[in-house]
Symmetry: C2
Subunit: 214 residues, 2 copies
């Protein structure tokens, strides 16, 4: 397997965590999102993913995109710790928690969107940061409510082993810290993230631990 990623791409970070949790090895191809106008726009990468987005996982002849689809694929085809629960309601809950990050926070705050705010829309850094914090807080507040009241919340988002939901939550919190979001309002999230960050699988997936970190 080969993972095309970038140290600070949080969708790549999700897949790195999943690979580590399942104790799988993937070679890495580094795609720098801003150098040379963005290496995601080279003809070679564009032929792999016409969306010009990371990550991409190559597995044999197959080319997979979209981090959540990749993680579900790994969970279905590879041995190791399961990242989705065995019961349908549990799977629905884990996917739902993952999608709060993957559908409702991250897409609004990734690099291409921030570049549009400060480029074509000519907004100020202050407006950009307010935008970032607005969507982060809306999403994390909802997650906090769901996790704090959820009967299935355990040491991790769902029970006492990490799942797809934790693979998404940890990169989201990493991003929120980079953008100075005040996380004190989210004690359940902070407790879960602390449990995650104590595990080598999460530590080794951290952006700062990647060979392409700057």
């Amino acid at each position: 397997m080969k993972l095309h990623g970038y140290y600070r791409s949080s969708a790549s970070y999700r897949v790195r965590i999943a690979l580590n949790l399942k104790q799988l090895h993937a070679d890495t191809a580094y795609v720098h999102l801003s150098r040379n106008g963005g290496e995601q726009f080279t003809p070679t990468f564009s032929s792999l993913n016409p969306q010009h987005l990371l990550p991409v996982l190559e597995d044999g002849g197959a080319v997979l995109t979209q981090s959540l689809a990749i993680i579900e694929y790994l969970d279905e085809t590879q041995a190791g710790q399961k990242l989705l629960p065995a019961d349908a309601l549990g799977r629905a809950r884990v996917r739902q928690l993952a999608m709060v990050c993957a559908c409702d926070i991250h897409p609004l705050n990734n690099l291409r969107v921030l570049n549009y705010l400060t480029g074509p829309l000519a907004l100020s850094q202050e407006q950009k940061n307010a935008w970032y914090q607005h969507w982060t807080h809306l999403g994390l507040a909802a997650l906090e409510a769901q996790l704090a009241s959820g009967a299935h919340t355990g040491m991790f988002c769902h029970g006492d082993t990490p799942t797809l939901a934790d693979c998404c939550l940890v990169p989201q919190v990493y991003n929120a810290r980079r953008f100075q979001c005040d996380l004190a309002l989210y004690p359940t999230i902070l407790r879960i993230v602390a449990h995650c960050e104590a595990l080598p699988a999460f530590q080794h997936a951290h952006p700062d631990a990647q060979p392409d970190a700057e």
Copy 2:
């Protein structure tokens, strides 16, 4: 089962299509997204979904949110036509196509985001429309490339029966048309959507066919 939805919510529209394809009945609760300051903010609805987003599916005592998680849950627990393929690579491809809409187009263009653009950011209608069209075209162009070149593309996004990917594509195209996006660049998408629109399951899920349509 009870579906909390709104005729023009495209995430609700996705679930309506899935229910119809699987020939399932759900009672409907109508949540008007702009009347009375938005009925998604009432205490009753907020207790169901602290994200204040549609749809919500109640099944027995369970409360499910996030349209893609709901559709996967229905597919796993209910009889009827399968909306995810039987093979892992096929499932990955269908999820990936669905997530281009659900993660990379729709979250940037839904009502709360457009309201932020014209409210706090005080952008013009022209800037809002340019934003809308920008993200729609980026996503649809990538989808067109993936669908036009995909060996598994058939009458529908994946093979010759509708899947989760078609449940997402049709509402996205409905939205694109509402916002006057030129779709002539996407012949494969238009061909697939025409096949979908010929089916009663899609026709009966259309916003205009809902009792709460205005």
